[in-house]
């Protein structure tokens, strides 16, 4: 008999929207029962592109198909007293509520943490927002780029002589949903030990700050203020190793990086004696522009796959700048079975990203995203 799923028996009410849905997806993938509570018309993510064949349809948004795998769906209008009553009736049967409706939204409808805890004493409730539920910015209107800005992450992305540039899509919101999943599981662990629930207040701004990984501490202790530095390392002294950057090659781009143990490998691989000039090797970062030029002679003669093959053969940690289309047909991911084909009643068979990780004893399962209100009868027994 197969083992039960890792999160079997854990029941979650998911009132998140857009990219914040990733938290519930993670819980559902490992076996929790996650019921999406959608507003009339559906979660905004259902109305966000890309759509299959570019035809807007609440069932075929690629974002929805990916971010809501494994969930159930019911529609409840939390501005309608009858639906609020139905929601309250569900709470005692659920372990966890995750939401992203904004500071004060649920409390104004009698559905704040204190209200819900009265219905289920050991409830774990997790709120995700761009800035947090309390504090001077709690009433602010959020957006991905705004959280990115207030975290100091935006200012460090881009070229020094150009404006800061936002990272692709909703990376910050995605990180806040991931933080919410971790925090919620910490609370589940504690609840299993003490019997007590908890309320977690997640800030997307802080999730972006967490991604910074060191510049704030370096400023505090060393007084060194990180500035955006293109694709080179944020901090480097004249004698820091170089390259670590993205460079153009024949028909594409590669990430080039040295092996600091054998500093002469670059020159050998690229047949550029000047790369092994003692002065350049002693202070490579001081000669970064010259190194770029010398590397360019060789890089422009090889396409990215060839650059990486030749570099890796010498233990130089080069990688390709891959495009999404290349990722979708990548041999490595194919051999590992990363992509899965999911059969959806409206979208048909769709190839999409699979597990975020392999738990060999209690495997991840990618089950299709729900249709809007698909599970109404099942969830609302008297609905």
């Amino acid at each position: 008999m197969p083992a039960p799923a890792a999160l079997e028996g854990l029941r979650v009410l998911d009132l998140t929207h857009s990219t914040f849905n990733y938290a519930g997806k993670l819980l559902a993938g490992f076996g929790a029962q996650v019921v999406k509570i959608e507003p009339p018309g559906g979660d905004p993510i259902r109305h966000q592109p890309p759509f299959q064949a570019d035809q807007p349809n609440p069932e075929t948004s690629g974002r929805h198909l990916h971010m809501n795998t494994g969930k159930m769906s019911i529609v409840l209008d939390l501005d309608a007293p009858a639906d609020v009553a139905q929601f309250r009736a569900l709470v005692p049967e659920f372990d966890i509520v995750i939401e992203s409706r904004g500071s004060g939204y649920l409390a104004a409808r009698g559905l704040g943490y204190d209200d819900l805890r009265a219905l289920r004493s050991d409830l774990i409730m997790t709120s995700i927002s761009h800035f947090g539920q309390t504090g001077p910015y709690a009433g602010y209107v959020g957006a991905e780029i705004v959280a990115d800005a207030l975290a100091g992450y935006l200012n460090l992305t881009g070229e020094p002589e150009f404006p800061p540039v936002k990272c692709f899509d909703n990376l910050v919101e995605h990180q806040s949903a991931l933080q919410a999943a971790v925090g919620t599981m910490v609370a589940v662990t504690a609840r299993d030990a003490t019997g007590e629930g908890d309320y977690l207040d997640i800030s997307a701004t802080e999730a972006a700050m967490f991604l910074l990984g060191g510049p704030a501490q370096t400023f505090h202790w060393m007084g060194m203020k990180a500035k955006r530095n293109g694709t080179r390392l944020l901090f480097s002294a004249p004698d820091t190793f170089y390259p670590s950057c993205l460079r153009p090659c024949l028909g594409g781009y590669v990430h080039v990086h040295t092996n600091t143990r054998y500093p002469d490998l670059m020159g050998v691989l690229m047949e550029q004696d000047e790369l092994n000039d003692p002065e350049i090797m002693a202070t490579p970062t001081a000669h970064a522009d010259r190194i770029d030029e010398l590397m360019g002679r060789w890089l422009m003669q090889h396409d990215k796959f060839e650059v990486v093959r030749l570099g890796q053969a010498m233990r130089l940690p080069f990688t390709e700048v891959l495009t999404p289309a290349e990722i979708a047909v990548d041999e490595h991911l194919k051999e590992r079975g990363f992509f899965v084909e999911i059969d959806h009643p409206v979208a048909g068979k769709v190839k999409q990203p699979g597990a975020p990780g392999m738990l060999t004893g209690t495997p991840w399962e990618t089950r299709r995203a729900p249709l809007l209100d698909e599970h109404r009868n099942e969830v609302l027994k008297n609905g």
């Binding site: 925090g183 504690a190 704030a216 202790w221 820091t240 990688t319 990780g357 004893g361």
Partner: protein, 418 residues
């Protein structure tokens, strides 16, 4: 009050960033984290260091800033696992742990004799986590890589940057914290299974596959429509106006996102351009999206004489998403981050109060927090060798003489301090 993960013991055998991040998260939440490092693994006299706090011993190797940030809430065991006695101690310790985390190239743990099969023999209930860059199988399994190189393979580099420019790099990097968080989530999930069944398991968290979760919207456009996405700078796929706008001062900017037609009307009022508010060419989002440049110019003309925080204040007052593009020093004084205590200050024995970037939540129970002791060299030696493995002083002295453990870094020399 007991911390959330009190009683859970984690054995960490990791380097670089992703593994350390995973384990400091567990440590911040109250798990006992013992990180193994080789006696020769770090520079004895690194450069670029903060000064020691008055009266503290002068141990430069304990003052490396990034190391302290990434390894807070842990204690360090100095152990040479490549020696047979070191491996023996490692396995005896693993037998008393709930979780082990490693992030070496696939062949390394096998060569050291601390792979899953070896550890499982001494501890069948272990949750054993590997965090390879690309996975332990597949054509790329033996590739060497660093954070920005994994970001490059994930599509994030291709999709980040100015449309007319080259691929970009997400600030410092993205893949490491993303992988650390995913691994922490996987461990907490496996711990629940273990509480219910007693069973441990092997977990493999590929950094690349964790990162592709965030790139999914672009990948889905390929699989649904065969369309290859590209860089859009600070523009948004459907909102407009959307971007960063120049402010007073050098390299100062504010981020603004107009996410509804109502917000557009409010923005026009705030910047004194009621003419634009009344212009039928711009009242609908799709029309604004098709004509962004004149709108960006109008906004820039207003922002250019204002401080970033002033733009934020005036636009948020009328319900328009806006925020200052903060520079790294300003994170310490931003009122919202101060209100939430986004930096967890913990006392380091040789540096004094250290501001650690907290995980992104605060909770009512408050049953977590960075451990104040600081990850000083050899700080877990006595805990492991004397308390957990009941060794005598004589036995420990022999291990020190044999180079199996150490109470200060051996060899080393100069190195970089941050």
């Amino acid at each position: 009050m007991a911390k959330a993960l009190q009683g859970i013991r984690v054995l960490e055998m990791t380097i670089a960033v992703a593994g350390p991040v995973c384990c400091h998260i567990l440590g911040d939440m109250g798990a006992e984290v013992i990180k193994v490092e080789e006696p020769m693994s770090r520079a004895r006299t690194p450069m670029h260091l903060p000064k020691p706090v008055e009266g503290a011993p002068d141990h430069p190797y304990n003052r490396v800033v990034n190391f302290n940030e990434l390894n807070r809430s842990k204690r360090l065991l100095s152990l040479n696992v490549a020696k047979p006695e070191g491996r023996d101690i490692y396995l005896k310790l693993a037998a008393q742990c709930d979780v082990m985390v490693e992030n070496f190239a696939p062949r390394v743990v096998g060569n050291l004799g601390i792979d899953y099969e070896s550890v499982k023999k001494v501890n069948p209930g272990i949750i054993y986590v590997s965090m390879p860059a690309f996975g332990k199988t597949g054509p790329y399994k033996d590739r060497g890589s660093y954070g920005p190189g994994i970001d490059a393979m994930s599509g994030i580099s291709h999709l980040t940057g100015y449309p007319e420019g080259a691929p970009g790099k997400p600030a410092n990097f993205f893949c490491d914290q993303n992988a650390g968080l995913h691994a922490a989530f996987a461990i907490l999930t496996a711990l629940r299974h273990k509480r219910r069944t007693g069973e441990g398991q092997y977990i493999e968290m590929s950094m690349l596959e964790g990162e592709l979760q965030a790139v999914a919207p672009a990948i889905m456009d390929v699989t649904l429509n065969g369309r290859e996405g590209n860089r859009v700078g600070n523009r948004h796929h459907w909102y407009a106006p959307h971007g960063v706008y120049p402010c007073a001062g050098e390299d100062r900017w504010a981020a603004i996102a107009v996410t509804s037609d109502e917000q557009w009307q409010a923005l026009c009022g705030a910047i004194g351009r009621t003419d634009l508010a009344a212009d039928p060419r711009y009242t609908k989002q799709a029309d604004r999206h098709a004509h962004q440049e004149p709108l960006d110019d109008a906004i820039s003309a207003w922002t250019k004489d204002l401080e970033p925080y002033e733009v934020q204040k005036r636009l948020q007052a009328v319900g328009v998403p806006a925020g200052a593009v903060l520079q790294v020093d300003e994170l310490f004084s931003d009122p919202q981050l101060q209100h939430r205590g986004s930096f967890a200050w913990a006392d380091h024995p040789e540096l004094g109060p250290f501001p650690h970037t907290r995980t992104a939540w605060i909770s009512k129970q408050g049953n977590y927090g960075v451990t104040p002791a600081g990850p000083t060299f050899g700080s877990a030696n006595d805990r492991v060798l004397r308390e957990l493995l009941s060794m005598s002083s004589g036995e420990i002295d022999e291990l020190v003489s044999a180079g199996v453990t150490s109470y200060e870094p051996v060899g080393g020399g100069e190195g970089r301090g941050h």
